[in-house]
């Protein structure tokens, strides 16, 4: 009884935190609530029906359950070399960091105090302390010196939405009514552990500039979202670009007082898996309800080109995830180039597999053969929403 009371009390505290203005704290409460029991989440759904605005949005996200288990790490200690910190971050957070550009640089020693934070918060803490730039390329997080950019970022679980660019344009063409538009370009980065199939777009729920004007763009006609279809998700996908449309800032406004919304994504609901050990051309494997054939596997300099065929008709219209692995379970970077769905016959997926960092291998040797090839087919997809929120963003 006491335990139940304590649980209820804890939930009430969390619910109160959902309404706070400390965004990381709000999202942590949201994650905790989303990880609750089905009954507790059903209660959140009921509560959402009686709520409105921001609280309602958060309750609805929590009621659907966790998007992906959120991990927290600690990256703290006295002064150490930046390279050591980067290696420790990669190890603790399993982030595909590439520090090749740092190896020959004269780097400072820095102290860090990032305790119990999301992996992307730890990465930002390291970047800020050591003045490191970050770019997301082909499944790797590239670190380079002297380029730290303190761009507005909203982090939820294993994702980070960074506002990269603001563009406002006034067009006077005389023959047609003049128009003024504003938009933000953003990058959604996510940890490789999130099996994200597709980013469907961003919905802005609240946007006000620093002069108090509502800059929420008028709603666009809702397009019917196409079925996920037979896409092949590049396993190495870790970032995706998004455009957030707004109304132009009002006269004299320099930025946004608040920007809040959700990103709609697709995740696999259930995956069927087939694994091929030491894959080579011609190898086949059968799993629950589908089979796979390696049509060709060509080792090249520092990479392997691969074509696989998925032989079962029933899975023709399902998203596919292909992963190349090492014996120790470490995933290589898999980049999908093409999915071919002929009218008849098997689906063909063309891939390139590259060794995962920490350093890109530039040697001329053929890539070391893979220990395991994993092909997963999503039986169904789940559409979920990721929240984002910013306060006090300077745009001009």
């Amino acid at each position: 009884m006491i335990a139940l009371f304590a649980l209820l009390l804890q939930d009430e505290t969390l619910l109160k935190e959902l309404e706070g203005s400390d965004i990381p704290r709000v999202y942590r409460a949201l994650e905790t609530l989303a990880a609750g029991s089905p009954d507790a989440r059903a209660a959140l759904g009921a509560r959402a029906a009686a709520s409105s605005g921001r609280l309602k949005s958060h309750l609805l996200i929590a009621a659907r359950g966790p998007v992906a288990p959120a991990r927290r790490i600690t990256l703290a200690g006295p002064s150490r070399s930046v390279l050591e910190w980067a290696q420790e971050l990669a190890r603790r957070a399993d982030l595909p960091l590439n520090w090749d550009a740092l190896v020959d640089e004269k780097l400072p020693e820095v102290a860090l105090e990032a305790r119990d934070v999301l992996p992307f918060e730890a990465l930002a803490a390291l970047g800020r302390a050591a003045d490191l730039g970050v770019s997301w390329e082909e499944g790797q997080i590239l670190l380079f010196t002297g380029g730290y950019v303190d761009a507005p970022a909203s982090r939820f679980g294993s994702t980070q939405l960074t506002l990269v660019r603001f563009k406002q344009e006034r067009v006077v063409e005389f023959a047609t009514p003049s128009r003024e538009t504003a938009e933000l370009e953003a990058t959604l980065a996510f940890e490789p552990s999130l099996p994200l199939l597709e980013v469907l777009g961003a919905r802005v729920l609240e946007a006000r500039d620093d002069k108090g004007a509502d800059v929420l763009a008028p709603p666009e006609a809702q397009e019917e979202r196409p079925d996920a279809g037979p896409l092949a998700r590049p396993e190495a996908l870790i970032a995706s670009s998004l455009t957030i449309k707004l109304r132009p800032l009002s006269r004299g406004a320099r930025g946004l007082a608040v920007l809040r919304g959700e990103i709609d994504i697709r995740l696999p609901r259930a995956l069927r898996r087939v694994e091929i050990a030491r894959p080579e051309t011609g190898a086949t494997a059968k799993g629950r309800g589908f089979s796979v054939k390696v049509v060709s596997l060509i080792p090249q300099e520092s990479r392997a080109l691969l074509e696989i065929a998925i032989l079962d008709e029933a899975l023709r219209k399902r998203p596919v995830i292909v992963t190349g692995c090492r014996a120790d379970g470490r995933r290589e970077r898999t980049l999908t180039s093409l999915v071919e769905v002929p009218d008849q016959g098997p689906i063909r997926v063309m891939l390139e597999i590259q060794p995962r960092g920490p350093a890109i291998r530039l040697d001329k040797e053929p890539m070391v053969p893979l220990d395991l090839l994993r092909v997963e087919v999503a039986e169904d997809v789940d559409e979920r929403a990721l929240p984002f929120e910013y306060r006090g963003v300077t745009l001009r």
Binding site: A151, L163, R165, E169, R170, V172, F174, A175, R396
Partner: protein
């Protein structure tokens, strides 16, 4: 008989004008020269004969006049005079009126199907083509001109909404103003830029080689001149290789109009060039480093020429001789293969170096045939038509 009489009278008239070229009064001489010039190529034989017989100052005067007549002839082949339209319609469908216009003028005009049936009542008498087109649109109501690269379309829209000025054979239009602000978030990088899009229009058959525009004024209704503080006036130019009926130019400058500005006074100078005479140098293959050729006006020295697959890359030094080499103003580089086919350079750039310029670029030759020679043509005599688009009140919103 009447024609013969007219010819005889005209010949007599030319003789009289030639005599007046040696008159003691400057006014009389100038008037005679102007009247002879207006007669064009028809007076060339008489001028040549008179020059051969003349001495001293008169001989020089006749030589100068001959050159001007020839220049005008060359120009007439490139700059066609405005087509004068005389046309009347009483509630005739727009499409039919435009077809009648098309029978009188060479520029293709197409009417959008939704506007084709609009009734038009006009009475045009000896009106230049571009003005005639506007009057037809105004009479049809709710249609406007949309000039393109090869012709004109008449589409639904507000007639006369686009700020423009007609200059007899030309029309210059202000197609749009685009003000863009871009902020790279988390950095101090901010881009504020305004682009002013102009279009110069001419009739089909007119063959300019270059069109250039300079923005001279952009003054907001609050008094701020957006061009103050700029190092140079915004300008743009296009080198024209293909025949067409107009060209778009975008003039860009740093900064955007003030938030409160509703209107601006805008002035742009537009120049349309016609090349009356080219000078050319040809270099026979195989090309070697240091190989050079000259013509009286300029010389060319090979710095580097390389052909890989179907692409010829070149690096040439072009230096002036009698006239300044204008290699960066409408020069054309071409190569000829063994079948006699000429191919123009698809890309090039020119950078000043000493007295001359270094011209760098490529010619997409295709891989099949051997190349025989390279030719660089540079304009050495250019006629320029100058126009000013002066718009005192351009809306900025």
């Amino acid at each position: 008989m009447i024609a013969w009489l007219a010819l005889a009278l005209a010949a007599q008239d030319v003789d009289e004008l030639l005599r007046r070229l040696d008159d003691e009064s400057i006014e009389a001489r100038t008037e005679a020269a102007d009247l002879l010039l207006r007669r064009g190529a028809a007076v060339t034989p008489a001028l040549e004969k008179a020059r051969a017989e003349a001495r001293g100052e008169l001989r020089e005067r006749l030589g100068g006049l001959l050159e001007r007549v020839r220049e005008r002839e060359r120009l007439a082949a490139l700059l066609r005079p405005a087509t004068r339209i005389t046309l009347a319609a009483d509630r005739a469908p727009l499409k039919e009126v435009v077809e009648r216009l098309g029978a009188r003028a060479p520029t293709p005009v197409e009417v959008a199907p939704e506007a084709a049936g609009r009734p038009v009542t006009v009475a045009l008498r000896d009106v230049p083509f571009w003005r005639a087109l506007e009057e037809i649109c105004a009479a049809a109501g709710d249609v406007r001109i949309e000039p393109g690269e090869l012709g004109v379309r008449i589409v639904p829209g507000r007639p006369g909404a686009v700020p423009r000025t007609n200059f007899d054979a030309f029309q210059v239009r202000l197609e749009g103003i685009y003000a863009v602000e871009v902020a790279e978030l988390g950095t101090a990088d901010r881009l504020r830029q305004t682009m002013v899009k102009l279009r110069a229009c001419w009739e089909k058959g007119t063959r300019p080689s270059r069109v250039r525009a300079v923005l001279e004024r952009f003054e907001e209704d609050g008094g701020k001149n957006a061009l103050d503080g700029l190092d140079a006036r915004p300008e743009a130019q296009s080198i024209l290789r293909e025949p067409g009926v107009g060209e778009e130019l975008t003039l860009s400058f740093t900064g955007v109009p003030s938030e409160g500005a509703a209107k601006a006074a805008l002035r742009a100078a537009v120049e349309v060039d016609f090349v009356l005479r080219w000078a050319e140098v040809t270099l026979p293959a195989p090309w070697t480093e240091g190989q050079a050729r000259e013509c009286p006006e300029f010389g060319v020295r090979v710095l580097d020429i390389d052909r890989v697959a179907g692409q010829l890359s070149f690096n040439l030094y072009v230096y002036p001789k009698a006239k300044p080499a204008a290699a960066d103003v409408g020069a054309v580089l071409s190569v000829r293969d063994d079948a006699g086919k000429w191919t123009d350079s698809s890309f090039w750039s020119a950078g000043r170096a000493g007295d001359g310029v270094i011209v760098t670029g490529v010619v997409m030759t295709g891989a099949e045939r051997p190349l025989k020679e390279l030719r660089l043509r540079v304009p050495v005599e250019v006629h320029t038509e100058r126009m000013t688009l002066d718009l005192p009140e351009v809306p900025l919103r």
